[in-house]
Each structure stands twice: as C-alpha cells, then as structure tokens.
Amino acid sequence: MKIIVAEDSVLFREGLVRLLQDAGHTVVAAVGDAEALVAAAEQDADLAVVDVRMPPRGDDDGALAAVQLRATRPELGILLLSQHLELRHCLELIGTPGFGYLLKDRVLRLDEFDEALSRVATGGIALDPEVVQGLVRSHRAPAALAALTPREHDVLALVAEGHSNTTVAAQLVLSERTIEAHMRNIFTKLGLHDDGATHRRVLAVVTYLESAGAD
C-alpha cells in the first residue's frame, strides 16, 4: 500500500515509517503538520495515517484536515491516531467507509494495526473499542436497536470497531457460524437487504453509530 504519514513528533513519525516499511508498505510522504498533509495528499496514495493533534495550531488540526481531505479526495482512506479520545471535529466521519480512529498505542499490536490499515484502505472501518464505547454509552439506546438481543448488541459493537466475523468470534469465544447467524438476524432486524456483504456490514455499523449519535 502507498501510505502518507502525518505526525509532528519526529520520534514517533520515524518509528511509524519504519514499522510501515517493515510491513512492506510504501511511505510516499511523511509530513509534520496539517498543511503539509493537505499538500502531500495530491500524490497517489491509498491511505493517510494522521495524528489528531498537529501544528499549525497545535490543536486537533489533524482531524480538521481529515474532514477536508474527505471532501477533496473521497477515495483516500484516512486513519486518525490520537493519544486520547478527541472526537470534536471528526464525529461526522466516524462510521463512514474508509475511515478509522485508533489510539496511538494500538500501533504496537502490529498484526491488528496492519489489519486496520488494510480495512480502511479498502473502504472498511476501524474504530478503537474506546471510541465505540464512548459513543454508544454516551447516548440512550436508540429505537432501531431496541429489537436486538444483548448478544447481537455485543456482536454489532465489535463489528462497528471494524472486526471481521473471525475476530469477533475469537473475542466472544463463539464459532464463526454463530456470528454469521447473529449478523443475519441483525441485518433482518435493521431492515438491511443482501446487496453485497461489505456494504451491508458498513450500513449496519452506520445505523448502529448513527442511532447512537442521534440523541
């Protein structure tokens, strides 16, 4: 994959670039602030890994740049990295295809991180469990989700984080087939019809997060 890295801390940026290169990716640009990121996004790339807090303001400039890039380059996957949850300016992106939000230390789990990169680059989503928890718990249980059983809730929450059926099954200590059955029930209950699996999964997650956000 061709990746753009935007991170102001030199130490972190170089570490990240090396990890990405070790994993066989091509880093087409490694920049230190939001303005340089927008300029670098002119190049051909699959994905931008962006730190939320960056110059020039030293605030959540990375999130603002992500919103801007989504408008100008919708096909570019964006993975935001942050030291802590700071969702002010990227709430509208959460749950949309090709967007991810992870805490920075998730980088250290190489396999999971690499998986998240691939998902976001191919139009999937990757949300940190804390983001999902923070968003879902912050709001009343929405009407559309009221029909789901607690188990289906758990499954959908994990899917919303961007997990595949396999990893969801591993986490809940269930068989993959059970997860598939749960997913079918969820799709039915949310009124989503089968017109391409990935798309339906994304819609389910969007419903989940949107109804959570529509307080």
Partner: protein, 634 residues
C-alpha cells in the same frame, strides 16, 4: 458720579468737619469741637473709599453722614451766639433756621442708605426721595423760621399755616427715612451674594450700635453717669458705622461677616433675655422672701446664669436661620442627608452630589485616602496630587475636598458643611476601600483558578504528547528490532511491549485525573464519563454555552463530579439529576439527588471555594430526609 465732583463734595465735608472744630473752640463748646473731630473719622473713611473707587458717591455720602451732624452742631453754636453779647460771624442767619434745620442731621445718613453699597440709586421712585427730603427740610425750616432754643428746649409754639407746614414736613422726613431703610431691604432681597455681604456689614455695624445702646441703658440703670454710659454708643455711631461701610465697599469678604453678625445678634438677644430674667427674678423675690438681701441677688444671678448657655445656643440657631439663612439651610441639608444615610434611606456615596448642591459648586470633588496612602475619587479613579480642604479623623487625614470656586468665604462654608458631612464621607471611603479589596481578592482568586486550569491543561498535554508519545515511540523501535531477533528473544520483546502498553494506559488514566481529556469535546462529553461511572441512574442534560473559558469549564466539571460523589458517598442517593444550562452570561449548574439530605449550611466548603474561585455563587437546599439540591452559578 464724576471723580472730580466726588472729590469736591468730600472736600466740602472735610471743611465742614474742620469748621465744626474751629466753631466749637470759638464758641467755647467742647462738645461741638469733639463732634467735629469725631466726624473726621467718617470723612477719612470717605476719602479712603474715594481713593479706591474714585467715582463712587458712597465716599462723599459717608463723609457727609457725619459732616451733616457737625454742620448742624456748628449752626447751633453760631445761632446760640446770636443771643449773646459777642455774636460770631453768620450768627444772624444761623439763628433763623436754628430750630428748623434738624433734618439736615440725617441727610448724610439718608444719602448713604440710598447709595450704599454701589453708589447707584434704584428707580425713579428712589430718585425722587432726596428731593422730597430736601423739600421737607425746607418746609421744616420755613415752619420754624426764627425759632429759638432755650436750655435745649424750643421756645414758643407756632400755630396756623406754619403748624400745618411743620406737621406735613415732619411726616415727610419720617417717611423718607423709613423708605431709605426700606431701600436697603429691597437691595438685600434682590441683591447677589456680593451685594448681600456688603449690606450685612452695614447690618453688623447697626447691630453693634444697638448693642451699645442697650449696654448704655444697663449702665445708666446701674447708676453710671449718662455722658459716660452712652459714650460707647456715640463713638459706635461715629466710628463703627463708617468703618463698616468702608470695609463693605472695599473688602466685603474681609471677615466671616455672616457668622459675626449671627453670633453678635444671638448674644444681644441672649443678653436682653437674661437681663429680663434677672429683673423678673429680683422683682419676684423682692416681693416674696428676701427683699433687698444679698441672697435675693445671688439667687437672681444663679437663676439667670442657668439658662444662659442653652438659651444662647437656641437663639444662635434661630438667629442663624434669619441672618445667615443660606449657610444654615445648606448645613441643615447636609445634616438631613447624614441622618438619611444612618437610617439607610440614602447611599453615603451620594455625599459628593449633596455637597455640590449645598456649596453651589458643581466642580467640587471629594478625594479620599486609600489604605496604601494613595488618593482616589469616590468612583474609584486615582488622584495623583490631592488638593483642597483637608478632613481628619482621629488625627489622620482621611479626605480632601477640592473646590471648583475657591475663596476665603467658600472655604469657611465648606468647612462648616464638611463638619456635617464627615460621617458619610468616611463611610463612603471605607466602603470604597472594602469594595476595592474585595474586587482584588476576587480577581486574584480568579487568576489563580485560571492559572491552575491552565497548569492542569499543560500537564495533561505533556503527559499525552511527551511521556506517552515517547513510550509508544520506544515500543515501535522495539517492534522494529524484534524482526531481527530469534523467536525466543522476540517473545521477550512482546512482554516488554505489553508492559509499555500498560504504562501508556496508566498514564492516560493519570492524565484524565489531572484534566478529563474529553473536556476538549465539551462539558457534555466529559460529564458522560461521570454518568457512565455512576452506579445509580444519573440523568444528564447539558446545554453548554459557547465560549466558556477553560477555568469555568473545568470548574463546572469538577463541581458536578464532586456533587455526584457526595450524593453517592454521603447521601446514599438512588437517583441523581444533573443539568447545565446557560444563564445570561454565566452557566447554571443544578445537581439534585433523592438522598438523605441534611447537608449543613456551612458544609460543602471545598465546593464553595471552587465556585468562588471563578467568581460564582452556590445555593444549597438540603432538608433532612428530603434530598439535596445544589445550584451553582458560574
């Protein structure tokens, strides 16, 4: 009046005064000679006025007020000599108007009354007055033509037309004199401040003359020789009156004439009343018990002395109301204001406006001392160099009153007013000092709260962007190295990286305690975490106002989380309702629980301090068994 004419007239008066001295010596009548000498005092005063104000007819009028008397006395001597063996020159004509010329005595005083203090006659009516007086004098002379005095008594009585002319003329003379006095009353009533002060000098001299006359009566009643008893009175007329007129014209604000006049009059009245009491007591006791004994006199003196001082004070106040009405009213106004301040009807800070009105000086300013020795106005503005009348309390200067219109008189007036205004001024000063101190305390605690909030934010950032970032970067380096290690050692690195992840999570928790990171996403986001941690149902309604500063936002968060902790820990609440809403320019926080209640009124000190540090207020309702309601306004 042209200066030349004024000098000629004054010169004539001088000649008459000197002539009286000469005639007195020639005729062997020392009384006339001394009258001429006495007249020279008024003549000299007239010259002084003339020298300073060359065209002012008050100068000649003053000279003639005494010279007229000297003139008549001289005529008496000449006329009397006509009936002796050695008549003096002009005795022939002098004896003809000997009896009838007496109105001339008062012609100078009449002129003075009509012209004083600025030398102008009033209207047409007043212009007619001198001519009427002259005609009346002429009538008097005609009616008494050829009359003769024997041993001071008029010899012979006229009848027929001469009697009619005499009666009419005498009435006219009386009417003219009364009108002349009235002219001064009119001038006083219509006059400005300066004119009034000048007339008050005349009044002062008049009051002194009356006092001396009363003293004359008293002395006479005590058996003093008449000539000696009335000497002060006569010299008062000859010396005091011209002196007062001279001062009035030349230096009307020389002394505090109002006070002199007021106190003088008050003492005269007190003396008269005391004398009355004395006579009454002597008479009563004489009839009743100890007629003519020393005991009776002593009792009379005692009983007279008893009411003397209180009486004087009352009379002084009473007289002040008439004689010095203006200042009396002004002082009363300020005193009434001070009483209103005591009863809480008015604010002491209004004192400046009250003094401005009382002093009739819109530019008057009160400057007060602050505790650090600097000076300021009552509205708090600083004053670099204070000026004006100092005001002291317990030996320390507390204020100065600066006048827009400064004069000796204005200073005396403000001194009297300041005495009445002392308490409101001191109270205003203390309130100003207190308010400034409170403002300073409030500002300083707000600054501290802001600094603390900024410090928390800085610390949180440093934990996140410094330590946490470094640890993660180190972890990434380990991961890179791991690739080149044999499997056994690679597993070691996994453990180390897992440790690092734990450390990062730990740091994140610590940073969150320093300042909840979700605060950047708004109060609602940060408080959602508080709600999520609550073991009992907690409803949260947050309508956060825009542009809350960091200190206020952090305080709001901490207030809610502390109140929630209290409700859970101490009140055993089963339900908590939290709401945050804009309230004008501030934010209102309400936390209600259904716990045991009974929070003491003085409790929640930490919460209170936290709220006060950003200039907020706290209200607590907590009936025993009725839950607790906390309302904070930040």
């Amino acid at each position: 009046m042209s200066p030349v004419l004024a000098r000629v007239l004054t010169g004539a008066a001088t000649a008459v005064a000197l002539g009286a001295v000469a005639v007195g010596f020639m005729g062997g009548t020392p009384t006339t000679a001394s009258a001429g000498l006495g007249a020279s005092v008024a003549v000299a005063a007239g010259w002084v006025v003339l020298r300073r104000q060359p065209g002012n007819p008050v100068g000649p009028a003053l000279a003639w007020s005494s010279a007229c008397v000297a003139l008549v006395l001289s005529n008496d001597v000449l006329a009397a000599s006509a009936y002796t063996r050695h008549p003096l020159p002009l005795a022939g004509i002098a004896k003809q108007w000997w009896v009838g010329c007496w109105p001339v005595n008062l012609a100078g005083v009449l002129a003075l009354l009509l012209l004083f203090p600025d030398g102008r006659l009033g209207g047409r009516l007043w212009r007619a007055l001198p001519w009427t007086y002259a005609a009346a004098t002429l009538g008097m002379i005609v009616s008494e033509w050829g009359g003769r005095q024997v041993d001071g008594q008029i010899a012979g009585v006229w009848s027929g037309p001469r009697e009619v002319i005499g009666t009419v003329s005498m009435s006219l003379v009386g009417a003219c004199l009364i009108l002349a006095v009235a002219s001064q009353v009119v001038r006083y009533r219509h006059g400005d401040q300066r004119r009034r002060e000048q007339i008050r000098w005349l009044l002062l001299a008049g009051a002194a003359v009356v006092t001396l006359l009363i003293a004359g009566w008293v002395l006479q009643s005590l058996g003093v020789v008449i000539g000696f008893a009335y000497a002060p009175f006569l010299s008062g007329i000859v010396v005091l009156l011209p002196a007062a007129v001279g001062v009035a014209v030349l230096r009307h604000d020389l002394f505090d004439v109002d006070r002199l006049l007021g106190e003088g009059t008050a003492w005269v009245i007190t003396l008269v009343v005391s004398a009355g009491i004395y006579s009454l007591v002597v008479a009563t006791l004489g009839y009743a018990v100890a007629a003519g004994t020393g005991l009776g006199n002593a009792a009379a003196v005692f009983l007279t002395a008893l009411p003397l001082l209180p009486l004087q004070r009352h009379v002084a106040g009473w007289v002040g109301r008439f004689v010095d009405r203006d200042r009396h009213v002004a002082v009363a106004e300020v005193e009434r204001f001070a009483a209103d301040v005591r009863t809480g009807r008015r604010q002491p800070e209004e004192i400046e406006e009250v003094l401005r009105l009382a002093q009739r000086d819109p530019l008057l300013r009160i400057q007060v001392v602050r505790p650090d020795g600097s000076w300021g106005l009552l509205d708090g503005r600083a004053v670099v160099a204070p000026t004006g009348i100092p005001l002291e309390a317990g030996g320390d200067e507390i204020a100065r009153i600066r006048l827009g219109w400064d004069s000796a008189r204005a200073r005396r007036r403000i001194t009297a007013l300041a005495k009445a205004a002392w308490v409101p001024i001191e109270v205003s000063r203390l309130r100003l000092v207190l308010r400034e101190a409170l403002d300073e305390v409030e500002a300083s605690s707000h600054r501290l709260a802001e600094a603390a909030a900024a410090e928390r934010q800085r610390l949180e950032r440093e934990l996140h962007d410094g330590a946490q970032q470094r640890i993660v970067a180190t972890g990434m380096r380990l991961r890179s190295l791991q690739r080149h290690l044999p499997p056994g050692q690679a597993a070691e690195v996994d453990t180390a990286v897992a440790e690092l992840e734990e450390t990062v999570a730990e740091l994140r928790r610590i940073a969150n305690g320093v300042r909840p990171v979700r605060l950047s996403d708004g109060l609602g986001a940060a408080l959602a975490a508080v709600r999520d941690a609550s073991p009992v149902p907690l409803s949260l309604v947050v309508d956060e106002p825009d542009h809350l500063d960091e200190a206020t936002r952090l305080t709001a968060y901490l207030v809610v989380s502390e109140a929630v902790t209290n409700a859970l820990k101490h009140a055993f609440a089963r339900r908590i309702d939290v709401s945050i809403a804009p309230h004008g320019a501030s934010v209102a926080i309400t936390v209600v629980d259904d716990g045991v209640g009974g929070v003491p009124a003085v409790g929640l000190t930490a919460l209170r301090d936290r709220i006060h540090s950003v200039g907020g207020t706290l209200k607590v309702w907590s009936p025993v068994g009725g839950g607790t309601r906390i309302e904070a306004l930040l």
